[in-house]
């Protein structure tokens, strides 16, 4: 669920590469469509629903899903589908922020560590060990509790807790590439270390880091939803996906309030995971 395990998953030798034919399988296509829809929801929510996410019709509280209200209504009579659609932007952007932090900070640490080696590697390596030693979700909880309960802080916390994973993967990849014959060849051809780093090492190392970033995007959505579920994100009336599940769970008689946003989270993350696997296999 948190970032730490993604590393082990990626490092475990070339998984289902048996069928790595070119061409896009139907599941990958569906995944891309799901992600496209999610992106459109977050950019133009008003195109997808006429209801307001904030103001409800008190006459229709806790209605079951119907043609008018696809996901039913909540205790204030607000359309749950509209709440989900309007909550998308915050859920998606915060996950992007988290991935960006992990990717930029982690890759930089990993790159410096793997390429420079020596004392720098030892120092940064210890730092990464320490980040890794605190269970990812607990670290995120502690950071968000220090920064304050806001979705953006939850995103930062999630990003920081993923730094170690990016750093480790980048370091491993850089070391792998750095030792290869073509990098040594570039020195023999008069290249210097910086040239080798920029033209040979990075282009060969970034790919699996990119796959991790995609995977991590899905994981971040879940971690941020979990933080929101615990109430560590923006308070209502904002409608982050995790928060919707959390506020829905009080109404035992209206399970759709939980299932609808939960389904959206699951579908999104599943699609992202599928795309990440497709990226990993289509080398």
């Amino acid at each position: 669920m948190s970032a730490d395990l993604n590393f082990a998953r990626l490092r475990s030798a070339g998984t289902a590469t048996l069928r790595s034919r070119a061409g896009i399988s139907p599941t990958v296509l569906v995944s891309f469509l799901v992600i496209l829809l999610v992106v459109l929801w977050s950019l133009f929510p008003s195109l997808f629903t006429g209801y307001s996410p904030v103001n409800g019709d008190t006459g229709s509280k806790l209605d079951a899903p119907s043609l008018q209200h696809w996901f039913g209504t909540d205790y204030l009579g607000r359309d749950q589908y509209a709440r989900v659609v309007y909550g998308t932007a915050s859920s998606v952007t915060s996950a992007l922020v988290a991935v960006a932090i992990g990717l930029v900070v982690g890759s930089t640490i990993g790159l410096a560590s793997g390429f420079r080696g020596g004392w720098l590697d030892a120092t940064l390596g210890r730092f990464v060990d320490v980040l890794l030693a605190i269970p990812g979700f607990l670290l995120a909880v502690v950071i968000v509790s220090s920064l304050g309960f806001q979705t953006i802080n939850a995103a930062i916390a999630t990003g920081v807790s993923a730094v170690a994973v990016f750093a480790r993967l980048m370091r491993a990849e850089v070391i792998r590439v750095r030792r290869s014959a073509f990098v040594e060849a570039s020195y023999l051809e008069g290249g210097n270390r910086l040239q080798a780093l920029l033209t040979h090492v990075l282009p060969n190392a970034y790919r699996s880091v990119l796959v991790l970033a995609v995977l991590q995007f899905g994981t971040s959505i879940m971690v941020i939803a979990s933080l929101a579920f615990l109430g560590y994100g923006d308070p209502p009336p904002s409608s982050d996906w995790g928060l919707l599940v959390a506020s829905g769970k009080t109404y035992v008689t209206a399970p759709w309030l939980v299932y609808a946003p939960a389904l959206v989270i699951v579908a999104t993350v599943l699609s992202i995971n599928r795309i990440s696997r497709w990226l990993r296999n289509s080398k």
Binding site: D4, A8, I134, F137, K249, V258, A262, V266
Partner: protein, 317 residues
């Protein structure tokens, strides 16, 4: 060999101790430096019900009127002697709070670990030996498990088994059945990466030439699995055990909240809402200790299980 192993174990233990100390420092800095003066804020909160004398005593104890570095030194010094301080909310010793909550979380986490391992092995074995149709389905399960947040799993299980099938009641969260379902909630997201790694290494190992050679000696599928493939395939998962324990600790915060259990997770949640810095500091540092200890155990075990690992090289790594 033994002296080589001894030196290796000592070096690893030393590194582990350093990591624990640094993790303590990092946690301290995150908690006390980032938000400014949270600790005194919560002390001054009229709802805390503390007298002026109590507050003075606490300020004295934590060195709150002194620079952060001094506070850190005080706090670290006490941590090293095993003293965890006092809760700002309840004024109880942190050790007592943690001690009370621990058994419940331990039961939950160990049950979850057992379930996760069983799930993972079942999925991996099935993915490898079931008829192709089922195997394909089993291979996609980890990815599905990983896409469902564990609060969703928990809520669905409660909805289905408590509210509809009445297999357990949420009012008695410590019953065996309730614990079992809570453990399943916690186990599912943990079992998935374990299963993925197992599947991948089984794939890898069964493609190795030695598997071919063993088959050419007349071993059947089950013999090949039991004698040749299990051990090398399981080795990468040993290294994952620490990560899994970390996941279980982190996941317990949510699982315990959903199932209404009183455990470490609940303690964390209360400490976060109540800005109870010492409790948070203690729980997070202890989690790091657990993580590092399990990791150390896995590290020390690996050379014993895997004859290829050279301890003298590993000690310098």
């Amino acid at each position: 060999m033994t002296s080589g192993y001894g030196r290796f174990a000592l070096a690893r233990a030393g590194q582990a101790a350093v990591v624990v100390l640094l993790a303590y420092v990092l946690t301290f800095l995150v908690i006390s430096v980032l938000p400014g003066d949270a600790i005194t804020n919560s002390l001054r909160d009229p709802q805390s019900g503390l007298s002026e004398a109590d507050i003075q005593r606490i300020v004295q104890y934590y060195g709150l009127d002194q620079p952060v570095l001094v506070q850190l030194a005080l706090s670290l010094g006490r941590f090293l002697t095993g003293e965890l301080g006092f809760s700002l909310q309840s004024n109880l010793p942190v050790a007592q709070i943690v001690g009370d909550a621990l058994p419940s979380t331990l039961t939950l986490a160990s049950t979850a670990l057992a379930i996760a391992v069983v799930f993972a092995i079942g999925i991996a074995y099935g993915a490898h030996y079931a008829p192709p149709r089922w195997a394909g389905l089993l291979r996609s399960i980890p990815s599905f498990f990983l896409s469902v947040p564990n609060f969703v799993i928990g809520l669905v299980l409660i909805e289905l088994f408590a509210f509809r099938l009445h297999a357990f009641t949420t009012t008695d969260p410590n019953s065996a059945t309730a614990t079992l379902f809570a453990a399943v909630t916690l186990a599912i997201p943990v079992s998935a990466p374990l299963a993925e790694v197992l599947i991948a290494s089984l794939d890898h190992e069964s493609r190795q030439e030695y598997a071919l050679v063993a088959r050419s000696r007349g071993l059947d599928g089950a013999q090949l699995f039991a004698r040749h493939l299990v051990k090398p395939s399981a080795l990468p998962s040993v290294a994952m055990v620490a990560l899994i324990v970390g996941e279980l600790l982190g996941g317990s915060v949510i699982t315990e909240t959903i199932f209404g259990r009183d455990g470490i997770g609940t303690v964390v949640q209360k400490a976060v809402t109540g800005e109870d810095q010492p409790v948070l500091q203690a729980v997070v540092s202890l989690s790091a200790v657990v993580f590092v200890a399990v990791n150390l155990a896995a590290d020390l075990l690996t050379p014993l299980l895997d004859p290829r690992v050279n301890v003298r090289e590993a000690a310098n790594a």
